[in-house]
Assembly symmetry: D2
Homo-oligomer: 341 residues x 4
């Protein structure tokens, strides 16, 4: 795990105007309004003394929006604990972890390998996230977390919609019912982007019309009452951006990342999971290393699959039809072993 992989240089750019991912370098965007940036700068400038454990590498990016997709971001807003806190809880000790980092690393590896999950629950982190509603709907399925979402009953939603960059405009996969195939090209791709952009613009315009209010707060027609916000919003498509505060313990965060940074997850939520993983690397590097070793790059074999591996290691040539595995299980096993089926 090197620094270059963890994106440790990223935050310098985070508050700058950014190239819109995938579009021409000329199209800049701002993640925040000026007032929001001022709030954030004030929060970042303020320092306090504390007796709590602190993590300088995470403090560096505290409060800063890390960009995701075209208008989204992830901001670390607060955290509790560090690598040593896991050791401290596992030992129910009166002080911090052990005296040596190598001992801490060994115990963390052991806990991860043997799925002793409760010590990892002793670290907590809080994010502010901006994300499209269809991503939010997948995200919220992780129930062991705390959430406060921006209320579109109470306030107007911003005019921000997720429009994929061309390289993410994939066709339906022919083999995987819920996967992506090749990238769409030419006129078909253009037409899709045109539809998405047009319908986003049109439905938002109608949202304003029904509310009788413009995004800037101005009234459109003084003679009209305006539809209530809790109804008007229902005309907006699920690629509109929402935002929330989301707080989670480290064990459940890793579970989230394990599922959502997986290649089978939809690209758009994977983009968020990967940024979350970057923050975990800054926060608890020993845990992150163990997690990548056991959970991200590891594999589970069923009893029958393990039996096949043992026969192969004993020098036997095992035929699929003699393996006790279904065709699909056989194929998955060969893939895991990096062999041709």
């Amino acid at each position: 795990m090197t620094q270059s992989k963890t994106g440790l240089g990223r935050e310098d750019a985070a508050l700058q105007p950014q190239a819109d991912g995938g579009s021409s370098s000329a199209s800049k965007r701002r993640l925040l309004t000026e007032a929001q940036e001022a709030d954030l700068r004030e929060a970042r400038e303020h320092r306090s003394q504390t007796r709590r454990v602190t993590v300088p590498a995470l403090e560096e990016i505290l409060y800063e929006p890390l960009p995701v997709l075209d208008h989204g971001f992830v901001r670390v807003v607060d955290y509790m604990g560090d690598d040593s806190s896991i050791v401290q809880a596992a030992r129910v000790s009166y002080g911090k972890g052990t005296k040596k980092v190598s001992q801490d690393a060994g115990l963390i590896n052991y806990l991860m390998r043997h799925r002793h999950t409760t010590p990892f629950e002793m670290c907590e982190i809080k994010f502010h996230v901006k994300l499209p509603i269809f991503v939010a709907r997948q995200w919220i399925r992780h129930r062991t977390a705390n959430v406060n979402e921006y209320s579109a009953r109470y306030s107007m939603l911003d005019r921000e919609f997720y429009i994929p960059t061309p390289e993410h405009l994939a066709a339906q996969s022919a083999v995987n019912q819920q996967g992506r195939g090749a990238v769409l090209e030419g006129a078909e791709a253009e037409r899709v982007l045109e539809i998405l952009k047009t319908d986003s613009a049109k439905t938002y315009e109608h949202y304003e019309e029904m509310l009788n209010e413009r995004a800037d707060g101005g009234v459109i027609d003084e003679s009209r009452a305006g539809l209530t916000r809790e109804l008007a919003r229902m005309n907006l498509p699920i690629n509109v951006y929402t935002q929330w505060y989301w707080k989670c313990d480290l064990h459940n965060l890793l579970h989230f990342i394990g599922l959502r940074a997986d290649p089978h997850a939809q690209y758009e939520i994977r983009a968020y999971a990967e940024v979350l993983l970057e923050t975990v690397k800054r926060w608890v590097p020993l845990v992150c290393e163990a997690f990548e070793k056991y959970a991200m790059t590891g594999t589970t074999f069923s009893g029958p699959a393990l039996a096949v591996v043992k026969r192969m290691l004993a020098g036997e040539t095992v035929a699929p039809e003699d393996s006790g595995l279904s065709k699909r299980e056989w194929r998955e096993l060969m893939e895991a072993l990096g062999r041709e089926g």
Copy 2:
């Protein structure tokens, strides 16, 4: 609690073509396709013997879709336990509840009054629900439940959108940031309905076009690949219907109903909460009676508010500015006591 209140006659109508709530009686609709109705009839016709406790009044409506809003429904798919199960668990007994219904009722009242919530967790119910996405997003915030949602990554969504009936087209409330005011009328109401209907139709048409597939499964243009379903869906507005299996214990179901059948809840989710309450009445009538007495029609007074009530009962005329309450607290107290502020 009489039968007429509990809607016990409702199920006879549930499988029939129905008047669209609020529109003219001529506009009939079907909740299910013929194939779905056949599945459901088969499930309803099958009877088994069981040693488990059963609830005939709930069995009557088992599997039947109870209509909600214009295309939604709630179906009870399975249940565990009855009123006596709460008593059984509270007593950790070897048999069923007590010998007498009146004793069961007394204990259930006691448990409800003193917030002994765990015995109510010993009953479980499973629903199949069809609901607009914006309702689903409020619903899913209740985390202590099990959910399996229809996957729009895997399958195409139906062409069904929630369009409010005219009497539910409310203006934004002037006094309550997240409430409804008077009903919109005339041209403004017509324009809103026109927008909602047009944009629903248009975005669904584009959904089909991007998928290169029609709702009936046919391919539109053999020369095109079609956008992957997990992306194409993002053009649909949040009034599109989704569906899920939702399973919950009785305590958490009552908590859900208490919050969502409340007048402050958005009308659309309240419509679901009220149908859920009907099923609870059939299932556990003693619990339901206690719940309505304590949770639905009861009120909580703060310490300072209670002090005001005591002074008033002692004959004192309490002035708002002399009450120790804020203006808002005073107004809420007077409302709860049914008095002018």
Copy 3:
């Protein structure tokens, strides 16, 4: 999976007086009082008609105490769903599972292999369990379940203590800080049993004395007040038996069994986990088969361990010091592969 393995013949014996596990066949015991047996017989004799899915193999043992340890038991009190319910929820279908058992099995295998856990949450089961307090304290750590425990603030505890049979009187393991070594023998074993029996008897006698009440309800000394139950109980050792109603969904039940039927779990809770697994076999045999294949007999390899396996399969002789694994990881890998380290 054959019937003989699942203990399907067990229930016939369950209500009979039983040989005390491990002690001489002359020492019989009853699990229940006569009044409790009468309650249970009444519950078992009653049959109702239901439209719900039912599982005859589970109905056979419904309400019956399955003996565990010397005074404990597990009784299935209620259940919701069967194998087909998992398929039904995964498909969000209007009817039951698929049309063919083999299709259901295939889908269940797929869901288990890919950790799609939510459909397994759609089945629910409720147990009445009698267990020693030190087992209860391990058990309750599984938080996603509903519990009602017998209250020793409200009622007197029975005079029942767990005393291990001689073959379970293990010495402390020299290599594993929280494991068992060889069985104690001779005078040392006898002394341990003597201590456990004497202290249990003595502390219970003092419990009665402090309460000023005998186990049969009689007052000991009319001139005394008697210590409150909530305090008197604190003199009892943690091998005293308690009991509770415990309700759990199938996913979390399997997670419980996976951890607690594991060889690293303490024998006494493992004894319960194994009886729970028997009930799962009766209830959802397809799920149980998949669970045993993937979770019980399967193994997870870390990324570095998998790399070693690949090198070995390619014909390379990998030395421990050249494997990238710690000594402990290497030993665990060799054990998993059934090879000498």
Copy 4:
């Protein structure tokens, strides 16, 4: 809320040898060993800079054991957030709370009054607690928290038992099945204390004998193997002390305190709840004030009870038999209103 109520002067004494609660001032005790005190001093002396919100009043007592009962304590080990964090989350804002404390207080009051609980979940706190097992068994029933308990499978338990002070040796209540009556006196009280002390000492001595190990780590008899720790512990009574790390969000902590600081809770867990409440006062004083107003000193009236209050306020003299309330409900209502039944 004054300082004297909140015990803000308490921490100065916390690390000093203490008078055993209720016994003569001569019997001093230490909460920690010298090594533990050294660890703790080191943790307290260390200061870091942080960009996170900090709470000086809570930092003051960070890591210090606040004494509870005779050998127990509560130590705040870490925390996340402050009063402003609730406002920040409720508003999903980019900066901290509002600009004025009075606005924050108003919003927090509103959220508490209307049971908008999710913003309170955005603060988190972690404690190290030493407590008797019978208290731990009540405590652990609160499932929405993270726990790591000292393992008596892995290590030996300390020779520490809860022995009530004489004024807490209550008789069983004659009217409340799970309550306390008058304090025991004279010979009966002496006999109870003698039993508790003798049995604690005797069972611990036997614990050491079975382990073949003394509390100081020495082996008793080199010729014996020693019973495994996971079995030997089962001879210890449930007034033996255990310890754990316990982490909880503010909403669930307040729920815990509301139930466990209630007069109906057993005195021994109430003693812990009251110390927890003290730490909450230091941590989030605005939340604490709202909590005391609404949850601690407030009351919930059922619908029928509220109807009685309204009739009384209208000048009517309501008779119990004419109130629609049961005798018990009537008595509870009169108590809440501070009137004679």
